[in-house]
Every structure is written in C-alpha cells, then in structure tokens.
Symmetry: C2
Subunit: 110 residues, 2 copies
C-alpha cells in the first residue's frame, strides 16, 4: 500500500493515447502475462512490447518482474488511482456531492 510516487497526468494520458498500450492493458487486466505472451497476439516484436511496457511502468499502469528467464507483467493500481483522482477533481461540485450521496446509499454507479 506504499504509494509515494507522484504520477504525472500528462505522462499518463500520453501512455493511454496509444491503442497498442491499451490493448496490452486489456490483456493484463485479465491476468499477468509474460512478454512473449503479450507479443504474439498483438503481432509485434518483443522489443516493441518491452518499450510499451517501459512507458506503462513509468506512469504506474503496469509492473514487471523477472523470475528466472521470464519477465512477467501485471497491471498496477498506481496509475489507475491517479487517473481516478483526476476524474474526481474534474467533476463539478454538484456532481461530487451526488457521488458522495451514491456512496452513502451503498450503490456506486456500476
């Protein structure tokens, strides 16, 4: 739960602007993948995947870990949390109140 790093919002939106990086996140949100498991279905090289992953790691959207010879990637929450914070900050005061009300009523907006 230690999340001290500040995520730059410009970097985050730059990372998410790329369709291949979003496709990588689509897969990672299901389950962790190795770099080669990501490369094959996307039809891109291991080097390209590694470059995209580096950008995703830099803004807290993915995390990779090398175990033996295999680098495993998973989705990270830091970037998603930063994005959610940005959304919250941009809702109108009225909407922020409605959000609170939704939470109090136990709903969430599914």
């Amino acid at each position: 739960m230690a999340e001290a790093r500040t995520i730059e919002i410009a970097r985050l939106f730059h990372a998410l602007g790329d369709p291949t990086r979003r496709a990588i996140l689509d897969r990672l949100s299901d389950r962790p993948h190795s770099v080669s498991q990501l490369a094959a279905p996307l039809g891109i090289t291991l080097t390209a995947v590694a470059q995209h992953l580096q950008i995703l790691e830099e803004c807290g959207l993915a995390r990779t870990e090398k175990v033996g010879r295999v680098r495993t990637c998973q989705i990270a929450s830091e970037g998603l949390d930063a994005l959610e914070g940005w959304i919250r900050a941009h809702r109108t005061p009225w909407e922020r109140r409605m959000d609170r009300l939704g939470e109090l009523l136990g709903g969430g907006s599914s």
Copy 2:
C-alpha cells in the same frame, strides 16, 4: 440522467492527450465559462478554443450552450463516466473486490 450515447474510449484518450484541452477542463471544473473567458488566459484564439471544445463535446467531456450572443461551456459527466468505467474494467479482480469493500465500509478512496 439520459445517457444513451456510447463514448469511444480511443476518442476520449485522444481528447485528453492534449494539454490545452486539459487546461480547458481544469477551468470548466471550477465553473462554466464563455468561449472568450477560456481563450484569454490560455493565450489562444477564439477559433482554437472552439475547435478544442468541439473535440471535448464529441467525447462527452464538455457541453456548450448558446444564450443570446454568448456561448457558455461547462464540463459534462458522460465522458468522465466513460473514463471511470474504463478504469473499473481494468482493475484486477482482487482490486475490484477491495473497491467493493471500501464502498461497504463507507469510505471511498478520497
């Protein structure tokens, strides 16, 4: 509360990738502005503001309304809702459960 339009996520991230458009949203999240109120502090032309606003409108992030001779812009929730849906869909199953727990405990993650 009628929100039938489907917001394309690619369009949304494209819109949010631009720093001027994010600066416009920063201002609109405070309160509605006229087009000229937006143009002056950003140092851009009315035409440029209008073009950015069109892109923001197309993905449900802003709404404009013409009253008399003045076009007033405000933030719209559709785009923010779509973005939040995307975030939720990309959290890991474990995290989605933690989110639910947070809601049950009445917190939210402020």
